[in-house]
Symmetry: C2
């Protein structure tokens, strides 16, 4: 645990690898972080900002611009870039790293890529563990950047304290956003590359869709209406407005109990996902037996039903195959 | 079960809704389909073709072109379009539907969208159940179209008998494909929109990357080298070559035991995912208790460790909360 609170890059990186891997050392570290947190209940917590959007909208450039803006305000920033690479190609991408390298010598900036696959208990559990370490390290802001297509990735961004959905003009209209299933999750929408043709149209369409969605909500007083901003991340244009909107949303979420509600939901999902990961290990242990292989073969040939085979597997596991 | 073998659209649609929902009627239907399959082990099986790629590469247009091509060869075709919309916006998108409407009066064509979220046991389990119904309906070809970003969606396409990865020029180069983590899963690559600038460059880059990957494989004799084709789906250009390449891959996969291996892997994943879905239901039942809510609250405030809470939950479930 040494070095985490001091945000030493090597110690942080090692701690994150430990909790990502989900082995006994990682579990022990998480236990110790929780213990320390119990003795210091008043410590400030990181504000988790999710950034999501289709490939090519400029998420990494926006993240780099936000880092600069937060640093200019004296805030420390950690970034978790969830990378949909397969386990084979392994994690961080050179391009993203290079783009963010201007901050590499600043000890109050920490950047980490994590693959979206191959985590025990799934991406939600693994991301939750990583956020816990960064929170313990005392970063003021933690940015979680994920590609906005795909179930797990969107869920991770949506679980943030403030979720930014990015779009770009010319990538299709609102239907594309609806298709990506990201309209409902945004606390704040940013149309990036606003110097391109169609940016204002995209922003207007979005505002209309949001106003339509908001007008269907009964709870008018408490509701947050997601602002739609335009920006050119590559030239730092519009970034100050985004930082201000994040602060607005944070203040609103704190006032209305939304921050607490999201943190509970996140913890709940993290605990359930971790529990399922434990069960999955047990199931896979049980499934190495030849009786299971026989039943899989029957299912593959359409001659046995999936649920019967699954039930047998769950029963097998419950009868004490253990972890 | 009436009407499924006759491919009556309404009966098929109802059967698929039943198995997607995962309720007792769906389970019963899957049991009966397996029973019938046991009594007819020699029946032909559907060839499952996965199509994946980033938003905007033209997957739906390609699917429509392939339907036409397969129909011209006298083959019946079912399409499952996995739509990453949220559960809120609910399933099929008007745009895709309209684009495919030219086949709507043909009883040997069946098209169905399914949402990628909100399925018991996850997308893999739900997609597996739907494929089972379409297989029982005797479709020669089943096309599964998914967006090629995101863990679950890619896994579903990758589990097909033949997986087509689509790219388009000008959507970034090979790095974009590597980023999407879809390079390893293609049995066949198609650079669509080949009339656009950069199509040949994209195809050449892909061939180089594939040849690099293939040269690292020891098993030279048995290995399949994924062809890289170019096409313009919107004008039916290059579709015949794709259909031929699918047939080639199918013949190769049959000869080398790859088809059987994939079907076993798919069944195995389907059984495990279904088992986990059952366990998740039990966990969620157990988690409604106030002891669990207290531990979630402690986790949310960083004061209890996730694994301890997860372990308690699994123990709780194992001690007979039952389903």
């Amino acid at each position: 645990m040494a070095g985490i609170a001091e945000r030493k890059v090597r110690d942080l990186a090692r701690a994150i690898t430990l909790v990502e891997n989900g082995g006994p050392d990682g579990l022990e570290l998480l236990r110790r972080l929780a213990e320390r947190a119990r003795s210091d209940a008043e410590r400030p917590r990181s504000h988790v900002v999710g950034i999501t959007g289709s490939p090519g909208v400029g998420k990494s450039t926006m993240t780099a611009a936000l880092i600069t803006a937060f640093r200019a305000r004296g805030q420390s920033v950690a970034v978790v870039a969830v990378d949909p690479s397969s386990p084979f190609s392994g994690g961080a991408l050179l391009g993203d790293r290079i783009r963010m390298q201007s901050h590499s010598s600043d000890e109050n900036v920490f950047i980490r890529s994590m693959a979206s696959r191959g985590h025990l208990g799934g991406l939600a559990a693994a991301a939750g563990h990583v956020l816990r370490v960064l929170d313990a390290a005392g970063f003021d802001v933690v940015v979680v950047e994920t590609v906005g297509v795909g179930q797990s990735e969107v869920e991770v961004a949506a679980a943030a304290d403030t979720t930014i959905v990015m779009l770009a003009p010319g990538m299709g209209d609102g239907i594309q956003a609806a298709k990506a299933g990201i309209l409902e999750i945004g606390d704040l929408f940013v149309v990036n590359k606003a110097d391109r043709e169609g940016a204002q149209t995209t922003a207007r369409d979005l505002r209309q869709m949001i106003s339509l969605a908001t007008s269907q909500t009964d709870d008018v007083v408490a509701a947050w209406t997601p602002p739609v901003l335009t920006a050119i991340a590559s030239t730092d244009t519009g970034i100050d407005d985004i930082v201000a909107a994040i602060a607005d949303h944070r203040a609103w979420a704190l006032d209305h109990g939304e921050l607490e509600r999201r943190r509970l939901a996140r913890a709940r999902e993290e605990v359930i996902a971790t529990a399922l990961g434990m069960v999955r290990s047990r199931i896979e242990a049980a499934s190495s037996m030849s009786a299971f292989e026989d039943s899989v073969s029957a299912v593959a040939h359409g001659e046995a039903d999936v649920h019967g085979a699954a039930e047998a597997l769950v029963d097998e596991m419950g009868s004490g195959t253990g972890s």
